[in-house]
């Protein structure tokens, strides 16, 4: 059982805004093979600088088609489509000539995790540079091979043609069946924006056809001859040692299922999946569940008791020489929230006595391989991890754990493919959640409507315990015969993501307090930004009222970044003059994701009935994510981000007692259903000549306060604790 304790970290302003790997991209003019404006003085994009060899990123196939490799996995966010777009663009190919291989330790570069809205900046930009460099190399080689000057050559659709003679040569023939193994070097000539054929357009996702046809697509759909199905029962309550139970101990017919106790795990294995499920359910039903009521409600108070001597009460900042400030204070709370993938996690593994192959929808095939290697004491070289799409998840969920279960069993059943899928209850109660957080804010407003000072105390658990070389990052490893508990605490600073307001504030002080709760936690869409923006934007709303200003104008007044102002102005134009009924309100919020990525302003129109029931009727987002590769894809992500965040905000919280998690299915942890889903609208602002900013998570942080601010406008009730549930209209 984990102890609850606290660590304090005081961080200065710079620590919060520091960001590694910022990339500046120029857009040269390019006329086919002739150098245009050449990129100088720039580093290669993140992943490319670590894997500079061209053949790590692309292969030319015999029929002049192009196979591109990305270390990122397709999660429904559309990264494979974006990769096809940029590769086709830079190689002057038809998009149908490009295929994409995603995350596979046997084939693709190590690009770490698919996370943090970083795939366009990291992987798509790497492919863009690699493809552009490959184009240059192919033309040079073609010129040499044909004995012609390269300024007379045209590359199109995988074929190089000579302008005057009409001579042609396919790109495969240029390479004599070899691949380009040279290292990519700057300068690289990129296609200029005005010549784009695919980038910036709504290329449809190839996967959609398979999905609407119901073809096998997910890791859950993999099938191998002789494959064994398995379910793995693990402790149901905190710190439980599983009793030695067998299906035959319960009522009912005998089952053709092998039961294996392995440490504190009980595995049920058979060729017949439903027999396995029955055996699991039968044994599970024999385990008694303590009934001690829900007690999550006191976490808000317990968090703040994790005091250290450095902390104390938040007091006015020293050296504050300004008088006559109006102070706004609030203590905000966000509960544990889950990924809640609709398809429970699944993994397939096969061990041939030497090599272990794992199929998984892990978000990081390479780090996952390190964790499996440490868990099983098996060399990484003998493990191949193949990424396969899974059910949508939004950070680190149980995908890795299900695959780790399969890996453990594969070693016990050599020569057999083992498929493990988690049960719904396991997914709900066993996945790592987004941490609960408390945000105490105290801010001072000047008489002229500008913000003078901002203090925030933040209490949070870790925001990433993703798989890495620590075996204990895998839940499975903690329950093996020789348990391997997690040694570290993961990435704590996710809790202070967007803790600092993006507004012009005279003085800012943020104190972060890291507690360790009993719940397993890890990264969930936008990490702490969702909670921090909720607090900041609630206080900003409060201050706009004290200043007697329109909430959007008030924000604009306190911003200096023109792009931030532009999204707010656009949102104002969209929502200006909207007619509202007495029971309706309009609320606004803004966040620049990570204070460094995409700009997003959200408006919410809500209705509150006489009983305090809140309905989110409509949401609008205005988003500036810099260069956009696939507008409809980004709009889709933004719509989804708002709907998901609306669900978190209205109704979601993981419930638990001192014994166990009590959110165990969609009845005990409900999410928004279709009748209650708001209408959503997304406007993109697309400035010319700017690099892409991570955008896939940008709508998540501003959504909660847009909703609660709208609730305030209708009811006069300020929401401090999420989820909103039913608004108390008394008093």
């Amino acid at each position: 059982m984990k102890a609850e304790n606290s660590h304090i970290v005081k961080a200065g302003r710079r620590d919060f805004v520091r960001q590694l790997g910022t990339l500046v991209v120029g857009f040269p003019i390019l006329s086919w093979n002739n150098p245009g404006e050449v990129i100088q003085d720039l580093k290669l994009p993140g992943s490319l600088s670590r894997h500079p060899s061209l053949d790590a990123w692309l292969e030319i196939l015999e029929d002049n088609r192009i196979r591109v490799f990305t270390g990122k996995i397709e999660l429904g966010q559309g990264i494979s489509t974006v990769i096809r777009q940029v590769a086709a663009e830079e190689l002057f190919a038809d998009i149908e000539q490009v295929e994409v291989v995603v995350a596979d330790t046997g084939r693709t570069p190590n690009e770490g995790y698919t996370a943090g809205s970083g795939s366009v900046k990291g992987s798509a930009m790497s492919v863009r540079y690699a493809a552009a460099f490959a184009r240059k190399k192919l033309c040079e080689l073609a010129a040499a091979k044909l004995g012609l000057s390269d300024d007379q050559l045209i590359l199109q659709g995988g074929v190089v043609s000579h302008k005057s003679s009409g001579k042609q040569i396919g790109i495969s023939e240029i390479l004599n069946g070899q691949q380009l193994k040279t290292e990519i070097e700057l300068p690289v000539d990129l296609v200029s924006q005005e010549n784009y054929r695919y980038v910036g357009t709504d290329v449809r996702h190839k996967a959609m056809e398979s999905i609407v046809a119901g073809k096998p697509w997910f890791v859950q759909d993999l099938f191998f001859d002789g494959m064994l199905h398995a379910r793995v029962l693990r402790p149901t309550t905190f710190g439980q040692i599983l009793p030695d139970l067998k299906p035959e101990d319960g009522k009912g017919f005998p089952l053709e299922v092998e039961v294996r106790r392995h440490g504190n795990l009980l595995a049920f294995v058979s060729e017949h999946e439903y027999q396995v499920v029955k055996a699991y359910n039968r044994v599970r039903s024999m385990i008694s569940i303590p009934d001690s009521g829900t007690s999550h409600g006191d976490l808000r108070d317990r968090m703040a008791k994790f005091e250290t001597e450095n902390e104390g009460q938040l007091s006015p900042l020293e050296n504050l020489d300004e008088q006559d400030l109006t102070w706004v204070e609030g203590s905000f709370y966000k509960p544990y929230v889950m990924h809640g993938a609709i398809g429970p996690a699944c993994g397939v593994a096969h061990y041939d006595g030497t090599e272990l192959t794992i199929w998984t929808h892990s978000q990081g095939v390479y780090p996952f391989r390190s964790a499996v290697s440490a868990m099983l004491d098996l060399d990484e070289e003998n493990i191949r991890v193949i990424g396969v799409p899974g059910s949508g998840c939004f950070g680190h969920n149980s995908s890795d754990d299900a695959a780790a279960d399969a890996a453990v069993l594969a070693l016990l059943y050599p020569g057999k493919h083992i498929r493990v899928q988690w049960m719904r209850e396991q997914e709900h109660a066993g996945e790592p959640y987004g941490s609960a957080m408390r945000m105490d804010v105290r801010a001072g407003l000047r008489g002229d409507g500008t913000v003078a000072t901002w203090q925030a105390g933040i209490w949070t658990d870790s925001h990433s315990t993703r798989p890495n070389s620590d075996a204990g990052t895998l839940l499975t490893a903690r329950h093996l015969p020789k348990p391997k508990p997690m040694s570290g605490r993961g990435y704590l600073r996710g809790g202070v993501r967007n803790a600092e307001p993006y507004y012009h504030v005279g003085m800012t002080e943020i104190q972060a307090h890291f507690f360790e709760g009993k719940q397993r936690v890890s990264s969930l869409r936008s990490l702490g930004a969702y909670a921090n923006a909720f607090a900041i934007e609630s206080v900003m709303d409060e201050m706009s009222m004290l200043a007697g200003m329109d909430p959007l104008d008030f924000r604009i007044k306190n911003l200096s970044d023109k792009r931030a102002i532009a999204v707010l102005e656009k949102l104002k134009a969209t929502t200006d003059g909207m007619q509202l009924n007495d029971d309706e309100g309009l609320g606004f919020a803004f966040c620049r994701y990570k204070n460094n990525d995409a700009y997003c302003a959200v408006a919410a129109r809500v209705k509150v009935d006489n009983h305090g029931q809140v309905e989110v009727e409509e949401l609008w987002a205005v988003l500036d994510a810099g260069e956009v590769m696939n507008p409809d894809g980004l709009i889709n992500q933004t719509e989804g981000g708002m709907i998901q965040a609306a669900s978190w905000t209205l109704m979601e919280q993981v419930t638990f007692t001192s014994e166990m998690t009590t959110s165990r299915n969609w009845g005990t942890y409900p999410i928004l259903r279709c009748p209650d889903v708001p209408m959503v609208h997304v406007d993109l602002i697309r400035p010319a000549g700017v690099p892409p900013l991570g955008g896939g998570e940008a709508a998540t942080p501003p959504t909660p306060a847009a909703i609660t601010n709208a609730v305030f406008r209708v009811t006069g009730k300020r929401i401090y604790d999420l989820p909103i549930g039913t608004v108390s209209l008394d008093g």
Binding site: L75, G76, Q77, R204, H205, A207, M208, E209, I211, V212, A213, G214, K215, P216, W217, F218, Q220, D221, F223, H272, E273, Y274, V277, H339, G340, A341, I342, G343, P344, P389, G390, S391, G392, C393, Q421, M423, R424, D632, G633, N636, Q637, E639, G640, G641, M642, I643, Q644, S647, N665, W666, G667, I671, L672, R673, C674, P675, V677, P678, M679, V680
Partner: protein, 155 residues
């Protein structure tokens, strides 16, 4: 064990099986129709939905023995014999009404069942028809648009 005959996507299948086995496992593992997904096994999420006759049902709850000789249609059976898309499938592609796509098959099945009994549904009727289908990626707004589009295209 009993000898069971079921009709799926216009074809008959006969096999020995326990009558209580949920249809979902028969479809996925015996017939290799993996369009219907396991989501909860509790009839809460709808990713397993199939048509039994014209009604969308949770195949994770329906015992195979209870649908003997009934016409079962899975997502794989919606395309015409000549490979044309069903209007609902077509509309989902046009609206790009999915993200990860795990819930999509069940959503389409619910939509087809709705349109078979009501080919001019109001917005509220579309939403109600999808009440038994959960989506976590937040594709619902597009799904609702797609069904509206399919209804209009079908007229």
């Amino acid at each position: 064990m009993a000898l069971i005959t079921i009709r799926v996507n216009g074809e008959s299948h006969q096999f020995e099986e326990d009558q209580e086995v949920p249809l979902l496992y028969v479809l996925r593992n015996r017939l290799r129709l993996t369009g219907p997904k396991f989501g909860c096994g509790l009839g809460q999420c709808g990713s397993c939905k199939v048509l039994v006759g014209d009604v969308a049902q949770f195949s994770c709850l329906v015992p195979v023995g209870s649908v003997v000789n009934q016409e079962i249609t899975t997502i794989e059976g919606l395309q015409s014999d000549t490979g044309e898309w069903h209007p609902v499938q077509q509309a989902f592609m046009e609206e790009q009404a999915a993200q990860c796509g795990y819930c999509t098959g069940g959503m389409i099945i619910s939509a087809v069942a709705l349109l078979r009994k009501n080919n001019q549904p109001e917005d509220a009727e579309i939403r109600e028809a999808l009440n038994g289908n959960l989506c976590r990626c937040g594709s619902q707004a597009r799904v609702i648009k797609a069904i509206d589009r399919a209804a209009k295209a079908d007229k």
